[in-house]
């Protein structure tokens, strides 16, 4: 039997990132997927990034993952969302050429040493003494491994709905993997059911573009990877159109034929990505909904109409789509559909994404109840790092809420579980002002270098950047302005006689680096990109000082680790309901315990007291 350090099952965004991370860490890694050419397929909309999601991609890139680089190579329209707002809430986003993205991921995969791709279906896991030992493929062959990562997406009991038609399957045209699902069910894992939907795909050649508004990309595109400066391919526009009352009427009249409204679907869908049926019903007073027409590629006429996902029958889809301006003559290439699937309650996972119920088995991506390529890839990265660490007998790496969106997401998942497909938002990060897309490298690359998952080239570029930043900052702090000098430079400060450093002045909302360097020529030797980055750091300096106390408090709580065998049922004074929740969630530390739903400070005190007692007993 062939032995590997890490086996990754599934070749979606979670799987690809997991396999790459494990291989970068030095693990001999195999990625098993149904079809090799399916690697890097974007099964939903042809876009990467956005608010919160763009942060995740930057963090993946900071740890030398592949998503950011692939998206840059494939990016055909870049927009920095919230460009007018502060840098903390700006999120890079790009339309990606599907074909280019896929080929980028496949090229990166070929180039990655220690990583092999095996085409096949994983039928079962090899389990021995409560530990996963490998996988069995559908052809009967077996692979052994120290760790296995499942990234099977919606393949767990997936059912596709188009109107009242239903078929078992994951993505359109893919085979469902029912035997593996049975294995997980046999493990007694808590499963839930979710749904998601897609819009019909349109033939762009049959769209009347001349009648529609267009949305261009940014004039100065901001890319995902810290290693990239500008786009690689030709840039295009998206189109914008709107539904109208006629559209809504058609949908209303056919609601009973919708899979969702016809009672065929039991799973819970995401509220932030409702089907057009949902929008028409829930926001009945809204006469029109925006639809973005997103090109799927430079030499691909397919258009993804973002905003009208549906589970209506094909004939109704055609009728309502053609009622929309610009789409009167449109040809549907592939009908929209809804898909229902099982997910594993992520509270069954450790923060390393290893299943508590089965050592060596990691889960990442949609199978954990998340949605989105970026969320999936970020989990894949974490699972890949930890599987490789475990295979090497090293301690797991846990990202924290205080240092990354990835940390926020995984902490949310393992302590709170999900009630709808989980998507990242910037508002989920309580330390949002410090967890910015622009400083993801400063937050995470040092950790990546320490772990060993960052290539030489990136490490060198990072060190050079940090050096330039610290030189620039030293200069900004050395240059001092009296109130009079500041006023002369057009900066309003109190005439209090206090000298302020250029760095302090930069934290004023209306002060630009240009103003300062005009007033003090010594500053002009700071390169503009370095100055921009320092300006972003300075902007929030006052807030970050204040947040430091909160960060510290959280870290203190996180340092109180709760042992795996901690018996919550033995704690007197907790309600049975809360005991049950804690027992199921198994918070890894006091910080996580405090975020378990229904937790009270009094209950937390009891847990803390018990932990103190245990630690005293140990040290005695």
């Amino acid at each position: 039997m062939k032995h590997l350090d890490v086996i990754v099952v599934g070749g979606g965004h979670a799987g690809a990132e997991a396999a790459h991370a494990a291989a970068r860490m030095g693990a001999q890694t195999a990625l098993v997927t149904l079809r090799k050419d399916g690697l890097g397929v974007m099964s939903c909309n042809p876009a990467i990034g956005g608010l919160g999601k763009g942060h995740l991609v930057r963090e993946i890139d900071a740890l030398d993952g592949i998503m950011g680089r692939a998206a840059d190579w494939a990016g055909i329209q870049f927009r920095l969302l919230n460009r007018r707002k502060g840098p903390a809430v700006q999120g890079p986003r790009a339309q990606a050429d599907r074909k280019l993205y896929r080929s980028a991921v496949q090229k990166l995969t070929e180039a990655q040493t220690r990583l092999i791709v095996i085409e096949g279906e994983v039928a079962d896991l090899i389990v021995d003494e409560h530990r996963v030992r490998g996988v069995v493929l559908a052809d009967g062959s077996a692979l052994s491994a120290s760790a296995v990562i499942l990234t099977t997406g919606t393949f767990l009991n997936g059912v596709i709905h188009i109107g009242d038609q239903r078929q078992a399957g994951g993505r359109m045209g893919d085979r469902p993997s029912v035997p593996l699902a049975k294995r997980l069910t046999d493990l007694g894992l808590p499963l839930g059911r979710l749904k998601t939907g897609t819009p019909p795909r349109l033939d762009g050649q049959t769209i009347d573009w001349t009648s529609l508004e267009t949305q261009p990309g940014d004039d100065d595109p901001v890319l995902f990877s810290f290693m990239h400066k500008k786009p690689f391919v030709r840039q295009v526009n998206c189109g914008i159109t709107h539904t109208n009352e006629q559209t809504h009427r058609i949908i209303r009249e056919n609601l009973s034929r919708s899979a969702m409204y016809g009672g065929h679907i039991e799973g819970v869908g995401p509220r932030y990505c409702p089907s057009i049926e949902d929008k028409v019903v829930r926001f009945a007073d809204k006469m029109s909904h925006q639809v973005f027409l997103e090109p799927e590629g430079l030499d691909d006429p397919t258009v993804y109409p973002n905003g009208i996902s549906t589970s209506l029958p094909e004939d109704v889809q055609e009728a309502y789509v053609r009622s929309i301006k610009g789409l009167e003559q449109v040809r549907i290439l592939q009908p929209g559909y809804a898909i229902e699937y099982d997910f594993v309650d992520p509270r069954a996972l450790r923060s390393s994404l290893e299943l508590r119920a089965l050592a060596g088995l990691y889960l990442a991506g949609q199978i954990n109840g998340t949605t989105g390529y970026e969320e999936a890839a970020a989990q894949g990265l974490v699972a890949g790092l930890n599987a490789a660490l475990a295979a090497a007998g090293r301690d797991p790496v846990i990202l924290s809420r205080t240092n990354s969106y990835i940390g926020v997401m995984i902490d949310d998942l393992v302590t709170r579980g999900v009630s709808e497909p989980y998507r990242m938002f910037t508002s989920r990060a309580e330390f949002r002002l410090s967890l910015r897309a622009d400083n993801a490298d400063q937050r995470l690359t040092p950790l990546g270098i320490e772990l060993g998952c960052v290539h030489q080239a990136r490490a060198a570029a990072f060190h050079a950047k940090m050096e330039a930043l610290s030189r620039g900052k030293a200069l900004l702090e050395a240059v001092q302005f009296t109130p009079k000098q500041a006023n002369a430079a057009g900066i309003k400060v109190n005439q209090d006689g206090v000298r302020r450093s250029a760095y302090a002045l930069l934290s004023f909302p209306d002060v630009t680096f240009e103003q300062l360097s005009l007033a003090e020529s010594a500053l002009s030797e700071i390169p503009s990109d370095v100055a921009d980055q320092l300006g972003r750091d300075a902007l929030y300096a006052n807030y970050l000082d204040r947040q430091e106390a909160d960060v510290e408090a959280l870290r203190r709580d996180e340092e109180w680790e709760i042992p795996e065998d901690f018996d919550f049922y033995a704690l007197n004074g907790l309600s049975n309901e809360l005991k049950g929740k804690l027992h199921r969630t198994r918070p890894a530390n006091l910080g996580q315990a405090s975020r378990v739903e229904g937790m009270t400070p009094a209950a937390l005190t009891l847990v803390l007291a018990k932990l103190r007692q245990l630690s005293r007993a140990r040290s005695a």
């Binding site: 932030y272 809204k286 973005f292 508002s427 400070p601 005190t605 007291a609 103190r612």
Partner: protein, 397 residues
């Protein structure tokens, strides 16, 4: 127990008449627990009395008069339960740390009390803060969706409301000091209506000079007294009227100032009302010189003592209610929390006024405010914001 006479057997509820010095305080359910069989593990007696403030106050007074009894500190029952091993917290050494951590529990306990007293007010703040934060977060997290770009008008109204409410609450918190330093009750009215006579009658001594001559009292006369355990400073003020007498005018001015600053005003009136000042909220209006004729409503006479008991009762009722209310809201940490929240909301307003471009800073300040108020309004979770956002806007392109 002398208060209840006899005790029912352990764990059996018994109805008892609670008496103090021969006076029946209440008819209550009495429940006793043996040592080792109660929440705290100690021998415990529970008195289930009627909920009226006066009833509770009188029973507490009765209990307080018994040697060795005092009010429990917040969280004390839990702590005793812990100390007595009822909650399986073995070692005593950890207790000092525990007590430190316990403040959080105490805080929640206060919240529970609070939810009864000012619960609806606080719920309202919470709702408005969630709504305000949700509006801002919607413009941030769903900037590329069909949501309004500028929500500042609505947010400013919401935040302003909570700010005002906090401001008021912060003022009311001074009632805490009142409990310590005494409430001020001002007697106001026209000259020669009998204010000083009333003061003297209430004080039980000749604290103020009385005469038939209108305008006898020029300065403010203060008498400290104990009304049912509450420290009260009674203020006798110059009669209110327009006057050309320079000295009297100063007296009237002072009377007005002190009366307005007082916690409660007793308006002593004859046929017509009181010029220059109008009763607010719970101010008491009493008819003067009740000895000279019959009046509807509260009528008092300092001369004969008629109606004085009713007046005292009314003053006590009002002040006791305020003291009880203050008791929850006036913990120092609540004051600090409200102050912090107030400042954070002020900063938020400032950021909001700069328009949507500074949304993340407005949001940060709202978050700080919500965090500061956690002890009062409970945790404002991001899920609550998302609920509000998804309920309000059609998100999802």
């Amino acid at each position: 127990m002398t208060l209840a006479g006899s005790l029912p057997p352990a764990r059996v509820a018994g109805v008892r008449r609670l008496q103090l010095d021969g006076e029946v305080l209440d008819e209550a359910v009495v429940l006793c627990f043996d040592q080792g069989k109660s929440f705290t593990g100690e021998q415990v007696a529970e008195l289930h009395v009627h909920g009226a403030i006066a009833t509770v106050a009188s029973v507490l007074r009765g209990l307080g008069g018994m040697p060795g009894l005092r009010l429990a500190e917040p969280g004390e029952f839990t702590r005793r339960a812990l100390e007595n091993g009822r909650l399986d917290l073995a070692q005593v050494e950890g207790l000092s740390d525990l007590i430190e951590a316990e403040t959080e529990a105490q805080r929640k306990q206060a919240l529970r009390v609070l939810s009864g007293a000012v619960g609806s007010v606080v719920d309202d703040w919470r709702g408005k803060l969630v709504r305000a934060a949700a509006l801002i977060e919607a413009t941030i997290d769903f900037a590329d969706e069909d949501v309004p770009v500028d929500v500042s008008t609505e947010v400013q109204v919401l935040v302003g409301f909570v700010q005002d409410a906090l401001g008021q609450e912060l003022t009311r918190i001074s009632s805490a000091e009142r409990i310590r330093e005494g409430f001020e009750v001002a007697i106001v009215g026209r000259p020669n209506v009998g204010k000083s006579t009333l003061l003297n009658a209430l004080a039980g001594r000749e604290a103020a000079i009385t005469s038939e001559i209108a305008g006898t009292t020029r300065d403010v006369i203060e008498v400290r007294m104990d009304l049912d355990g509450l420290a009260v400073t009674l203020l006798d003020t110059a009669g209110l009227r327009d006057t050309d007498d320079v000295v009297e005018a100063i007296g009237v001015e002072r009377a007005l100032q002190r009366a307005e600053a007082a916690d409660l005003r007793i308006f002593l009136v004859e046929e017509d009302g009181v010029p220059l000042l109008t009763p607010v909220a719970e101010d008491i209006v009493a008819h003067a010189k009740a000895d000279l004729g019959a009046h509807g409503g509260l009528a008092v006479s300092g001369k004969t003592g008629k109606g004085l008991d009713l007046l005292v009762k009314e003053v006590t009722r009002i002040l006791a209610a305020r003291a009880a209310e203050a008791g929850v809201m006036t913990r120092e940490r609540h004051r600090i929390a409200m102050l912090r929240a107030f400042e954070a909301l002020e900063a938020a307003q400032n950021e909001i006024s700069h328009g949507p471009d500074r949304a993340e800073l407005a949001a940060e300040n709202l978050r700080r405010a919500a965090r500061a108020l956690e002890s009062l309004v409970g945790r404002v979770d991001v899920e609550h914001l998302l609920d509000e956002i998804f309920a309000s806007f059609c998100i999802g392109k």
